[in-house]
Amino acid sequence: MNSIEKAKVLVIGAGPAGIGVAIGLARRRIKPVILIDRRERVGGVPSLYKKKPGGVPTFVLWTQGRLIFGQQIAERLADKLRASEVEVWLQSQVIEISPGQKKATLVNPSRGRFQVSAEAVVLTCGARERTPVERGWINGSRPGGVLFTKNMLDLVDQHEVHVACTPAILGSDLIAHAAAAKLRFAGTADAVMMDRSPRPDCSFPARFYFGRWANPHYEGGAREVTVVGGRSVSAVTPAESAPVRCDLLMICGDLVPNSELALMGNLRVDLASRRVAIRSDYQLSEPGWFAAGNILGDYHGAEWCYFNGRRVAGQVAKYLRRPEARD
């Protein structure tokens, strides 16, 4: 068995919240802090939204009162990290945690499977878009041409694929409206957007803003919808309504926390919402385990997550300074 790597603090997930935690710890001269991410770069979800000339900025820098591309947020955060003493491990996947032993098992290309132990661990794994099955109101066939926003970003932003489709969007939150705008910018027709609520689940200012690029037609009150299509999606049919023709079906927004590691490690997680159970000091159900950012379940933008991470860093520092720890 390989020797176990030791860290002072392990931060799992290098999105805005994880970077916030890492920077907050680094500024308090706590080290070694190891920040882990499974992807090939830091920045989490914002890094997926590439800056494009004339494109759609979808992130808000509240502290500066302006709109910005996700990529720019990711770059700023990456700069902060580079200027710090945080150790960043990319392409590193945590496959298991042992809360009682404060250990995590990782896999990466240089070392294969190995373990890391730490005095404190922070889960900043973020959230993902709920699947059609999890939403509960989407049934039917399983054709090609059905994508999450994240898949669309991977294809369109990272690969510059031109999209000449007629999209339908399931979901109506901020992410769905941003997706509608980006699709239109990428060459699609205006989307039909469907959701359960009678009105879109997105504030008027945000809808007004995205209206610069797209004007999705909203069909609310969908009790349930059926996906239609053999090899490829051809329509989505709301119950007791006419089919809405489309050749691209987007599953947007409606986030759910990435709390699998916590669940598998027997940390307390509410099964229905998948939210990790936390105390007021952001500690989880085992001492020395913390969480920050969108894994907490109330979905916030990148800047909020970063500052939440900074805040949780303070709680981690307090935990590390506790009397028992000093022995």
Binding site: V107, G112, V133, S141, G144, D154, C165, S232
Partner: protein
């Protein structure tokens, strides 16, 4: 082509467009040689693949052809993955005989073919007095089916075996050898060994017509207008068997899809049960089961909905159907209540009005074999059914069975045999091939190296669905949120296919319309 040589068979796709490399494309019938096949099997589901596997042990020129772009993509991929003992079959039926036979063969076969297999056993639960009263007759039926290791259980014994069984359970029946396996790996394993022994495999080819079905040599015409000749034609096309039978004037039979919808639960639900849980069946249906999967999940299902043959929704889920499954499953096993559902699927069984296991030799012409109505037990019976059909072909269609001395009957060792062996557990292997440490699918912990191994495996899969069934990518709780495009990127760069053209399951199912 010399049918006695140990040369590998041809692996070809009838693929229009750019979705696969030209070296894999079926462009000309001459690529398959000009001699007629001894046997052409239409339908590469688990039955067709098992038949090809067994036939490949003999000195025969064999073709396995399917309209889908992977093997096992029909009913063979949408079932409960249970390898039955046959305890509840109709005693004396052909189905009962073949299932019981195959059930005894499976553990050794799974070992030889490297098919993930677990003899977890099953417990039939009686949840009221009426059901409890039926247990003795179910027990008797099991014995009549030569499944003699079943045992009646008292309520306390049920709870000893299954700690989470409902309080209101009255008693049960233990079926120790009822097992679970990987249904995808099964079709693939059969086909891989067949290919290694010289069977030609043609995928993506729909048979649109059969010319000269009454002749000694019949001609299959693909929808791409290529002609393939064969002496014996085996129709193992499942729900496509009626349309194919019409091409050669086969005797009438009525088939229809019987849809079965399933719920999939997350891996942390798996510890709730140890064995397959079965309800006491009713005259209409076997009921909704709660089943552990070999992949580490729990599933519940199926429904039993008869649909017309031309239905477009035979593999679609419905909220009513899934609700039925949930109600049935939670009545049998209330602990399932509130466990998150991470996936659903609907498979279509081939139901035949004239009865299950409808096998007709020389239908209606010499050398044409129709096999249809393999409804609920095809996965289990496949090895025994294959042997039965071969004997039948020898007896009825003059098939000459001369053993091929150098034929293999096991899957050869490979560095990466399949999803169940994680290369990252071997540090030396990762040092040599860092791609085994690059995790692409976080839900199932699948590395880039494994995806490439799948692409290079003998059947040369080229679709996302084919890659997913071999590696587990795209099949986790996030339903490809994380890894859809990364996996497509790997297929794109490895096979030199433009990214947007990577398909879910063949032409027409591209990632994006551009």
């Amino acid at each position: 082509m010399d049918q006695t040589s140990s040369r590998q068979g041809n692996m070809l796709y009838d693929w229009p467009g750019e979705g696969c490399e030209s070296s894999l494309k079926f462009l000309d019938a001459a690529q398959l040689g000009l001699q007629p096949y001894d046997v052409a099997i239409v339908g590469a589901g688990v039955v067709g693949c098992a038949l090809a596997y067994r036939l490949s042990q003999f000195k025969l020129r064999v073709l396995l052809v399917d309209k889908n772009f992977d093997v096992g993509e029909g009913s063979s991929k949408g079932n409960s993955a249970i390898v039955h003992t046959g305890f509840d079959a109709t005693p004396g039926s052909l189905e009962s005989k073949l299932v019981t036979q195959a059930s005894r063969q499976w553990p050794a076969l799974a070992e030889k073919l490297k098919i993930p297999y677990d003899s977890c056993g099953a417990v039939l639960l009686a949840i009221d007095d009426e059901q409890q009263a039926q247990l003795p007759s179910i027990h008797k039926k099991a014995l009549a089916n030569s499944v003699d290791d079943v045992r009646l259980l008292m309520a306390s014994e049920v709870r000893e075996l299954e700690a989470n069984a409902p309080e209101y359970v009255r008693g049960g029946l233990l079926v120790p050898r009822e097992s679970i396996a990987d249904p995808f790996a099964s079709s693939i394993a059969f086909a891989e060994v067949a290919l290694a022994n010289g069977v030609d495999l043609l995928l993506g080819a729909s048979i649109a017509a059969v010319e000269n079905p009454g002749g000694t040599v019949k001609t299959l015409v693909t929808s791409s207008e290529k002609r393939i000749t064969t002496r014996i034609l085996v129709n193992a096309a499942g729900l496509g068997s009626r349309a194919l039978a019409d091409c050669y004037g086969g005797q009438p039979f009525d088939i229809n899809p019987r849809r079965g919808q399933f719920l999939i639960f997350d891996k942390f639900s798996r510890p709730l049960i140890g064995r397959i849980l079965l309800p006491v069946p009713t005259p209409q249906t076997k009921g909704v089961l709660v089943i552990p999967t070999i992949f580490g999940n729990l599933i519940a299902g199926p429904t039993a909905e008869d649909l017309p043959l031309d239905s477009h929704v035979a593999t679609c889920t419905t909220s009513e159907g899934l609700q039925q499954v949930l109600v049935g499953a939670t009545r049998l096993f209330p602990r399932l209540q509130g466990q998150p559902v991470i996936g659903t699927y609907a498979g279509a069984r081939c139901n035949c009005a004239q009865g299950s296991y409808l096998i007709r030799y020389n239908d209606p012409h010499p050398g044409v074999l129709t096999v249809t109505g393999i409804r609920s037990t095809g996965f289990t019976s496949s090895p025994a059914l294959a042997d039965h059909l071969i004997q039948g072909l020898a007896d009825n269609c003059e098939l000459k069975l001369e053993e091929k001395p150098d034929a293999i009957d096991s899957r050869p060792e490979r560095a990466w045999p399949g999803w169940w062996r994680r290369p990252f557990e071997n540090t030396e292997l990762v040092k040599r091939k860092p791609d085994y440490g690059r995790i692409i699918c976080a839900c199932e912990n699948v590395s880039r190296g494994e995806i490439i191994d799948a692409l290079e495996s003998p059947l040369k899969p080229r679709t996302l669905d084919a890659v997913k069934r071999r590696t587990r990518v795209l099949m986790g709780r996030c339903q490809a949120f994380e890894c859809l495009v990364p996996v497509a990127e790997i297929i794109s760069s490895h096979c030199r296919i433009p990214l947007e053209i990577v398909t879910k399951n063949g032409p027409g199912s591209e990632l994006l319309k551009t």
